[in-house]
């Protein structure tokens, strides 16, 4: 059964050098409060796992917390200008290793981990120069004799996610797009989920929760995905991300947004966002 914890305590369990799978996708339902806490605790040499990352990976690269990234895509979409600037520069200067995957091979690597096998066949990487990466290979199909591409198992030491609701026993309800979150919960050695709200009992509806035996730690963190969106709660705070992109001085960004305690952060971003959260609910 999962333990309800303060975020700070849960994140202490993540060690330098861990492989950390981060839930959500691009600027949506990403556990950014977890990312802030990892930076506060000065985590180093993390290997980040994600199909498509954006602000999360860029921020971790900005604070030199990352050794390698296992992802299909790291960048933003049109309105935020594609470039995850700190990630891009870190890779270009050799400070971060880009273990580029297809999103499907990140999934396949975690499927191997989930199923307890050392690698997973995948159809197919034919024609892609990525097939030469050391984490891909080919094997002979022992039944028909053909050649099959395989992906090495990719087992996260930790998966961190943000969801809408959990009950006090730590069952977690993810609403809207699931992305790869459920696979991450099953593949990872240990897991931590932040939720918008802890409730005595989850709504009795057809949508079932993720069972608490998969979840080690649950922390209640209101606006825990900000500045990414959280379906039914708030939209992406584009203005905040644009501000980060042109901040320049990451130490000042730390003082202004990562160092302050949670309540201060929320009132600040609500004030600066001028009604961003209530306005945005309409578009969700």
């Amino acid at each position: 059964m999962s333990e309800i914890v303060e975020l700070e305590k849960g994140i202490r369990e993540i060690k330098d050098g861990d492989k950390v799978a981060i839930g959500g996708n691009l600027t949506h339902r990403t556990p950014i409060s977890v990312v802030y806490e990892m930076i506060r605790q000065k985590k180093k040499n993390l290997e980040v796992i994600k199909t498509a990352g954006a602000f999360d990976i860029d921020l971790l690269c900005a604070f030199r917390a990352v050794k390698a990234v296992w992802a299909g895509y790291v960048g933003y979409e049109s309105d935020l200008g594609f470039n995850a600037m700190y990630y891009r520069r870190s890779v270009e200067r050799g400070g971060v290793i880009a273990n580029e995957n297809a999103c499907y091979t990140v999934i396949s690597g975690m499927r191997a981990a989930r199923q307890g096998v050392p690698f997973m066949p995948v159809n197919t990487l034919e024609g892609s120069d990525l097939r030469r990466m050391e984490y891909f290979s080919t094997v002979e199909d022992p039944f028909s004799g053909g050649v099959v591409y395989v992906v090495r198992a990719l087992k996260p030491d930790f998966a961190v996610l943000h969801a809408q609701l959990a009950d006090r026993e730590g069952n977690v309800l993810i609403r809207g797009s699931k992305f790869e979150d459920i696979l991450m919960l099953q593949a990872a050695e240990r897991t931590l989920v932040t939720v918008e709200e802890l409730v005595d009992s989850l709504p009795a509806e057809l949508e079932m929760a993720q069972p608490n035996f998969l979840i080690d730690y649950v922390a209640e963190v209101n606006y825990g995905a900000h500045p990414t969106s959280c379906y039914l709660h708030y939209d992406t705070d584009l203005k905040f991300i644009r501000n980060f992109q042109k901040y320049g001085d990451v130490d000042r960004f730390y003082e202004d947004y990562i160092a302050p305690e949670r309540g201060e952060y929320i009132s600040k971003v609500l004030r600066e966002g001028k009604g961003w959260s209530t306005q945005s609910q309409r578009s969700l």
Partner: protein
């Protein structure tokens, strides 16, 4: 009726869906979003629309974002089919059309979204291929789309082949390419000359024997495009 470049582009992509079983669009794909919504409404009511959001056949009341992973793609959808399941569908040969973009596209239809320069010491690290490396070799038909047509985008040979395979068409603001192992110009956009294409393409351009000019968008198409995209997000990627 007057029309803009993005509107012709969308009309071309929507018409490609007339016989499609299903169509997938990925990240940063607002132009394909509008195209599939128009294609389903006007030409192919049986089309199944799939996206990273995991919602099947959304009917958004407005396009709330340029992000195409955004929850607006959940609106009025009645069933879910996650990204993992979409990749599985493609892997078993049942994904019909995928709209995929390349930063670089070469004569052989290979795309590069990984690096400019060498992979290990890149001059420019690009965001990455997302799903393309496994989708291109497995989906039945790849529709490449690129909102800029110039010599930097259309090159003789890509620096790095992020993905290759099964190219069906390639749509640009100047022309519609067909594919027979190499890209060739099948049709010109209204007002575009063969010379315009040659000047803006980094490989030797082949023109189809029966080359034609693309039919202008119909009034019905234009009205629907403008109704779906009231805030003119379609123009953004063409700037």
């Amino acid at each position: 009726m007057e029309y803009t470049k993005p509107e012709v582009f969308i009309s071309v992509m929507a018409r490609l869906l007339k016989d499609a079983e299903n169509a997938f669009l990925g990240v940063a794909s607002i132009v394909p979003v509008i195209s599939v919504l128009v294609g389903k409404e006007l030409y192919n009511p049986n089309l199944t629309i799939l996206s990273i959001s995991g919602a099947v056949n959304p009917k958004p009341s407005r396009l709330a974002s340029l992000s195409t992973v955004h929850p607006f793609l959940f609106e009025n959808a009645r069933s879910q089919f996650t990204l993992t399941e979409i990749f599985d569908l493609s892997a078993r040969g049942e994904l019909d059309i995928a709209f995929l973009g390349g930063i670089q596209v070469d004569r052989k239809g290979r795309i590069n979204r990984s690096v400019i320069g060498s992979f290990n010491k890149p001059k420019v690290r690009l965001p990455g291929g997302a799903g393309t490396a496994v989708l291109m070799p497995t989906v039945r038909r790849v529709v490449l789309w690129r909102t800029k047509h110039d010599r930097r985008a259309f090159v003789e040979e890509v620096d790095f082949a992020t993905a290759a395979g099964n190219v069906y068409k390639c749509v640009t603001p100047l022309c519609l390419f067909g594919f027979d192992g190499e890209l060739y110009v099948e049709a010109l956009f209204p007002g575009v000359t063969e010379e315009n294409i040659i000047d803006n393409t980094g490989f030797e351009v082949r023109f189809a024997e029966g080359i034609y000019e693309i039919e202008q968008p119909t009034e019905e198409e234009l009205e629907l495009i403008r109704e779906i995209d009231r805030e003119n997000l379609r123009g953004f990627d063409f700037k």
